[in-house]
């Protein structure tokens, strides 16, 4: 088990290192003067252009030799500094992100966990009932093939814009001041609901299909046939198949984290939900590159943490990783 985690952690540290390097390198690797490219998107007076150009050059440390810039980047990062946001000037990037992260987590965590659990359950049931299989499966394929942003648009249109059942945009009603009142909590909940449903539904389809197909494979495994030859009832065979099918599903969960985060980004944008994804749009629109770079690192760290959690769960579910004979089955 120790080797298993050592390997995982090594991968994660490497990933973090690569991510930071990319984060630092991409603006510098882009063809041409990155700052000129950046500023060309504004309509600027020549005088203010010069000021901005020099201040950006300073902020990016572009005057220094590359290795120096790189080390400084790490040093600032390790001190928790990601620069100052332009979009929310003069707040530091970390503060801006921290405010948004709460909303994103409130959306992502329940949507991911619940869709995973529900999808697995329903997929398992579908694997044993023909009728359910014929109905759930096509539905799941439709869901998993749906672009997040489109489902979000559709829900926003039908349930918010036309039916007025839910608010169409924002994290809470702007007429309310954030307090711990029922009215405010209710407002939070109603604004949270549609983005949550979007993320939940798309995820649900994928998990249901995955579980259903895996169980069908497992039911054809040798151990399943052996159980049958011992006259074990179908219930027991299915139980084993389900438990074993959870392992590749967990691997799948770790693999999909990136996609799920991407889905959250576009969903938040549709609903103007003030999380990380929405912040991405604001940063893009206001050419706030420190913010974008910060968000990138934040997402990476978040995904790494989530990966680690999945690893821990995997060890809890797969006894073989614990006895140390089979490291890195994933």
């Amino acid at each position: 088990m120790r080797r298993y985690f050592a390997r995982k952690l090594l991968t994660y540290f490497l990933t973090f290192f690569v991510a930071v390097t990319l984060d630092w390198g991409i603006p510098r690797l882009m063809p041409g003067d990155p700052i000129a490219g950046l500023l060309s998107k504004f309509q600027l007076q020549p005088s203010s252009y010069a000021v901005l150009h020099s201040s950006y050059t300073r902020a990016f440390n572009l005057g220094e030799p590359l290795w120096r810039q790189y080390l400084d980047f790490w040093r600032a990062l390790l001190h928790g500094s990601l620069g100052t946001s332009i979009y929310a000037y003069p707040d530091p990037v970390t503060t801006v992100i921290r405010h948004a992260v709460v909303f994103t987590l409130a959306l992502l965590l329940p949507a991911t966990v619940l869709s995973y659990l529900a999808g697995n359950k329903v997929g398992a049931i579908a694997a044993r009932r023909k009728l359910l299989d014929d109905t759930v499966l096509p539905f799941s394929y439709v869901l998993t093939a749906t672009p997040y942003q489109w489902l979000a648009l559709l829900l926003a249109f039908v349930l918010a814009s036309v039916a007025h059942v839910f608010p169409i945009s924002g994290g809470f009603s702007y007429s309310l001041v954030p307090t711990l009142s029922w009215a405010f909590l209710w407002s939070l909940l109603t604004h949270w609901f549609l983005p949550f449903v979007t993320l939940f539904l798309v995820g649900f389809g994928g998990w249901a299909i995955g579980m259903r197909n895996l169980i069908i494979y497992e039911l054809d495994a040798d151990y399943a046939h052996f159980l049958e030859s011992l006259g074990a009832p179908r219930r027991l065979v299915r139980k084993y198949a389900y438990k074993n099918a959870r392992l590749p599903q967990l691997t799948g969960l770790a693999l999909s984290l990136g996609t799920i985060v991407g889905g959250a980004v576009v969903t938040e944008i549709v609903f103007n939900y003030p999380g990380i994804g929405w912040l991405v749009l604001q940063a893009i629109n206001s050419e706030d590159f420190f913010l974008l770079q910060g968000i990138f690192l934040f997402i990476i760290v978040g995904v790494l943490l989530a990966n680690f959690v999945v690893d821990v769960v995997y060890v809890l579910v797969d006894p073989r990783t614990r006895i140390g004979l089979q490291e890195g089955t994933r």
Partner: protein, 316 residues
């Protein structure tokens, strides 16, 4: 009379029609007898043995019956067969190495299987532990996962489990082929011991490895292309086979350590016929050195002398 198989036909379905992997086969196995079932791969021996315990869902039993201690086994009725499986008929599968659920401790798995058959685990645990020791396994294998055991150990666990409830019939399907030679002998010895101790009443040992049969079997049934071609006591099959196929099979084996019929038999010209559309007469006629006109009619299985049956016009 322990097992009596009469005119059994088992087919698997394909697009181009039913493939009769076992075609009108009859034989019986006495109490306390270990019967070997031999033949090239694809001759239907495995299908025959497995169908007595677990008829694969892609297979159909198209005719005949099997009586165990006078009761007919409901071969095609999956649920009714469950009453017999494990308790009356049991199967040591070809895939013993992967037969145990990889994510369950062995003891836990056995307890769940036993309990699912409405038997209290506590009641069988002492016997289970006794038998594990009997086959030379420490009882703490029950606390282990399959991956912690060697191939031979897994094989023994599977054998102990399948025979735990003292079945009347044990079908052992190629139980030795995945093992090294010394382990093979040990497993063969176990089959004999299980019979000698009265744990298993009758045994069918399916193998392409005749040396195993020489070691353990009292009698041998030779199959070719879905048909039973010869049945006799082991010594007779080895020393005085009467069917040309059996003769070639035996003759093509090296003198010492009679092994791996399959590989050597590739030396006999020709291939077994397609079971989808088998030839009318004797199915071996194509490859048979003695074949003549009369072989266009299917030869009946005749008892040449007591206990020695042959299906060949040239044998009498």
């Amino acid at each position: 009379m322990s097992l009596d198989v009469q005119n059994l036909v088992v087919a698997y379905r394909t697009l181009r029609g039913d493939v009769r992997a076992v075609d009108d086969v009859s034989f019986s196995v006495a109490d306390g007898e270990i019967m070997g079932l031999a033949g090239e791969s694809g001759c239907g021996k495995s299908t025959l043995g497995n169908s007595l315990v677990r008829l694969d869902r892609t297979m159909r039993c198209l005719g005949g019956r099997a009586l165990l201690d006078g009761t007919e086994l409901p071969l095609s009725d999956w649920d009714a067969m469950d009453d017999f499986r494990f308790k009356k008929v049991s199967l040591v599968p070809q895939y013993s190495m992967s037969a145990l659920n990889p994510t369950r401790r062995i003891g836990k798995m056995i307890s769940e299987v036993v309990r699912s058959r409405k038997i209290r685990y506590k009641d069988v645990l002492p016997e289970l532990e006794r038998r594990l020791r009997l086959v030379g396994l420490p009882t703490d294998v029950l606390a282990k996962y399959p991956i912690e055991l060697s191939g031979g150990m897994k094989q023994r666990v599977v054998m102990v489990l399948t025979t735990l409830l003292d079945p009347s019939l044990l079908v052992a399907d190629e139980v030795t082929s995945a093992l090294d030679v010394s382990t093979q002998r040990a497993v063969g010895g176990m089959l004999v011991e299980l019979r000698d101790m009265g744990i298993v009443t009758s045994t069918i040992v399916i193998t392409h490895d005749l040396s195993v049969l020489v070691q353990v079997a009292d009698s041998v049934v030779v199959m070719y292309a879905g048909k039973l071609v010869e049945r006799a006591p082991t010594a007779t099959v080895v020393d005085a086979p009467r069917h040309p196929y059996t003769k070639l099979l035996i003759a093509s084996l090296p003198e010492v350590g009679v092994r791996y019929a399959e590989h050597v038999l590739a030396g006999i010209p020709g291939h077994p016929p397609s079971l989808l559309d088998p030839p009318k007469g004797c199915r071996f006629a194509d490859r048979c050195p003695l074949a003549s006109a009369e072989c266009a009619v299917e030869p009946p299985l005749v008892e040449l002398e007591s206990g020695h049956f042959v299906a060949c016009w040239k044998a009498s």
